[in-house]
Symmetry: D2
Subunit: 359 residues, 4 copies
């Protein structure tokens, strides 16, 4: 009820403050008998890790996940899977100056008002560090989805004003990872990298858009009327730090089409029902229809910048803030595995829910 | 778990098929002692009703709500509030021809695949008729919010390719309702109305965008980390039929700004903490900050059109469909109270959740 | 959250005040494709109905259930099943005298304190009338359980100080219903009936115990560690009006045995794993083991009696109360189908949950 | 959904296998600003710890709790409180012989059947070791309850056939802890201790009953109709390993009384509403009425005994088992803090839920 739990059947609860002892997650509802490749989990976590490239924050955390329950001889037991990521590079001292300041467009003010207390070190619970736990849990969810052949790939499709119109038919995670920015359109990727470096140099930051594609999703995931697949995906995405928007299928641009242009005609391909176009984004009536699911997620520019900014301290006095801590000039490259993780969690939940639909 | 329940503390469960006996809703968790103005509920329901103007469906339903529990001598008892809207204008016969057809971009195919059975009459459970129940429940939620002075106003900001940049500082529901389209920018509204009529004449349909503003929301609504206010709003909106996208505050366009442009500087106004700009859309760290909350919701063009379309029947054979039933050439005018209702439900839920945050 | 919902996957929400428009229930999560025999539902409801025999309340209600959604051409759609039982025999006037009185051992005082408002007519929401809805929902659950061969039979095993040690191997519902008291031990049943009539004549009331047996329950129902099958059964039973205790298997008497006497040795019968004794009551580690599940439920004597009693009115003044309304001198005969219904709801929920346990 | 979570607003999720890395718990929903006395938590944990006296298991575990999130400078942050209890005294080897055996009246068989896999070492997830986490969480809940003056005291009221009728008006935890058996009736306690020692010597075990009293509980805790306070208490108790029964107030014995004897007359004491007797056990209509809440919990004799027993191995072959591991000859003395913890969790949950009842 306090908002730290996601999912209904495949359910996770995360915990931990940015500069506390550790961050962690409990995954409850993962079916028994799933083979867990811990290397895969760590590999996804490494894709989110700070300090992985020149364009990400230089904060150093090894982010090593340690499983402490729920797995026995390499397989899930059906009991809760708990995992811990110790917080190594505390440097809490970096944050002493922020104890009494409300950083602009951060959660300092709202947390203080809501709870009457806050852990100011690195944002405490509001830090994006919490998303590391989502990546751990999402990777387990992905392993479950892979048993059904479901594949999830996210990539950066825009940084600031630089857009890519990459055709996602030829997508693979390897291709995505060829680019520091995680934009598989390698030419555009270079421009994006340059823009990020310029923002960094000028003490500023950039936003961007991540596109995510789900392939080979079976028909029947999603529950009418409130837990439509797109509704749960939207919630999942908007629960990620810095996300400002979500659209699936034709999205906002689809409002410009007429019904006769937008409707996806059903056709039969080798006896299978398919649609000729896919403005529906693989979801109809809130339920997956077997076509590719795709959606786009907007991230605002990082709020932490080193340019001086006007703000208030907790006493209501004006204060000029210039961040000196380490931060990402653009979060989207590191957010790619987070988007994938949240997508996997939604799908795993609905894959289980689908088991309940018929007698 | 089957997706018919929304909200955690202020919780609703809707039921009913489009052409069954009735649609209805149970509201559980509404605090005791709330004065219920049933006229207000009916008035909001009337704003959603089919047949209210020349540009909406000509289906005739009086949509009269009947409360059957939870209210005693004009006040809520704290027990579940059940309400029923009988289905009057069945004309199930209109749908016999659709029994074996998968209408393009409708839920027919996915429901059939998921459940192995479906009520084909008017879409059954997948019909937007279900949203009438949301309006009833949302109106009760609004009455609760009004006890705290919270105000919600939605309006149509685009239809097809026609946009309005109406400044929502001067907004009122009365102004919105001056326009058949529910666009308070009355000049633009005329163009939108014309476009809708053209679409109707040509047997086609249009999409559009609804903008919603929440004024006077107290600080502290929203729960980190998964139940952020924007995440629950996104889910609420994407759970509405035909919605394809959601953005709040700066939204997708915000990805074009730099951090130094996007950050909202804190300032003190008469001793109150405010922000100079409001790219945050009234929400920071997932929690309302006291500024106006605003967001935009994209609706696809109505899937039901009278132009002939290619599709399949349930046996996999090609079929040409031309809808003869009554339908809206553009859903956004009637969706305005639905957006308001879902917003009210999210806020009422979080207003209650806020009671739990401190010792 | 307000306590009107039971179950997690097979979930019901009841609504309605005793003397309001109607009582009702929404069943959400019943799988699609279940054939619904409405006669069976009505028949179980008739077993709970007031006025069915000389030893039950003389209040007359036909208690006719009307389904308004979720069933199409005799089968469940997978959408919510809503059912209504109109309240016919209001006689609200009977209750005017009670408007300002706190009836002893009733919910009047606690409801008033909790909510600051109450529907005093017949107890409003606290009336056992609400359990009619549970019987409707429980009957649907039973139909689902029958598809797996699961059978539930409850019976009265004691009334006041009169006990029966009926061997439940020879039990059937028909046998139970041969007795007005619903005690299949027909000799003892006569004594019980006599005791109830004596209590009635003297303006007093009796309590009793209901025993319930579940046969042919598959192995694997129940979730460690909090949602053990016995924990959910205990909650279900203690949620019934007037229930004061629950024990399963060896129960309280089992505390007198030594471990070596109490342990149930595993044995192999025709290749199947069984236990030689069944002190475990068919549940081990919170999970059904395939043996008969059995438990006992204690009901206090009816609180409403016609003998004069001392109490207070809402102003804190002493008041002498002698009930004149119609009431049951002993609730256990009519509570038999309620115990069965709640048992069915718990098992249906866990039958669905079992689908989630393995990859 | 997999049963590892308890509570709705004050919610805990436990994790961990008996011989895995650690056991742990996440407490979500504890309000911000609560001062946490970690010594108190550890002290309650010590009362549950194995090896604390001659009549408990000789397994040695220091059971030291380590908090890793949610507490900052001695106060709760409103974020999830995670706590870990490392498993020190593994001796997994002790259990190798049990890998292929179904211990009688244990969870081995049902876990294997449900999940197709099990951690056989010490019962894995089914071990009562999990309850240590409940004590940690329950102690935090108690600290919350103490801010309202609520007090919970449990004690052993019977062991095997030895009963105590201790008058709980003079109860204190100190008095309870004067007795190794935790029976405050010190004369009877000596007899109980002797009985436990005899059982131990003969390789056998005993059951018993714990009585629990809640003092100074405010009026208004409990939610009609399913989440009655007694229903949630019953579920809490039946979710504890080895529990077979629950009764509150007059309980099973109350079925022997007539209504006129059982009803609790309301009286006014110094302007406060009280009841003359308390057969209701402090709960009416599912809601606390301000009187003492009291209930009794039946525990079966420990299933693990060293006397040889007949059973089956996983291949269906007969097997004679004589436990050699360390185990409690009677669990009730160590179960006292577990009963208190589960009681505290139920009350903390309902104390928060009460905040939602009125406008």
């Amino acid at each position: 009820m306090a908002g730290n739990t996601f999912g209904k059947l495949f359910q996770i609860t995360t915990f931990g403050e940015s500069h506390g002892e550790a961050n962690g997650v409990v995954i409850d509802g993962c079916p028994a008998g799933l083979a867990v490749d811990i290397n895969y989990v760590q590999q996804q976590l490494d894709r989110r890790r700070p300090g992985q490239s020149a364009i990400t924050t230089q904060r150093k955390e090894s982010d090593t996940v340690k499983f402490i329950s729920g797995i026995f001889e390499g397989k899930t037991l059906g009991s809760p899977i708990a995992a811990i990521i110790p917080n190594e590079d505390h440097r809490s001292g970096d944050y002493d100056a922020l104890k009494d300041v409300y950083r602009p467009s951060h959660a300092d003010y709202t947390y203080q008002q809501k709870y009457g207390i806050r852990d100011h070190r690195g944002g405490g619970r509001s830090s994006a560090r919490e998303t590391a736990c989502r990546v751990v849990a999402g990777s387990i969810a992905e392993l479950f989805l892979k048993t059904e052949g479901i594949e999830i790939i996210a990539f950066v499709s825009s940084v600031g004003k630089i857009d890519s119109n990459f055709d996602f038919d030829n997508l693979s995670r390897d291709l995505v990872d060829l680019s520091l920015v995680r934009c598989p359109d390698l030419e555009i990727s270079g421009l994006m990298e340059q823009a990020i470096n310029e923002a960094k140099t000028s003490g500023d930051s950039l936003g961007g858009i991540i596109t995510c594609v789900v392939r080979n999703c079976p028909v029947g995931l999603g529950e009418p009327v409130f837990d439509r697949l797109q509704a749960d995906l939207a919630k999942a995405m908007l629960s990620i730090n810095a996300v400002k928007g979500f659209e699936y299928g034709s999205g906002f641009a689809g409002t410009h089409l007429k019904g006769s242009e937008h409707n996806d005609a059903f056709v039969s391909e080798n006896g299978e029902v398919r649609t000729q176009t896919n403005h529906s984004g693989g979801i109809q009536g809130g339920i997956s229809n077997g076509m590719d699911i795709y959606f786009r997620v907007a991230f605002k520019p990082t709020a932490t910048i080193s340019k001086p900014q006007d703000t208030l301290d907790v006493y209501g006095s004006a204060f000029t803030l210039a961040a000196t801590g380490r931060h990402d000039p653009c979060v989207v490259p590191r957010a790619v595995p987070i988007v994938e993780a949240m997508t996997a969690l939604v799908l795993a939940d609905h894959l289980l829910r689908k088991r309940l639909s018929r007698i």
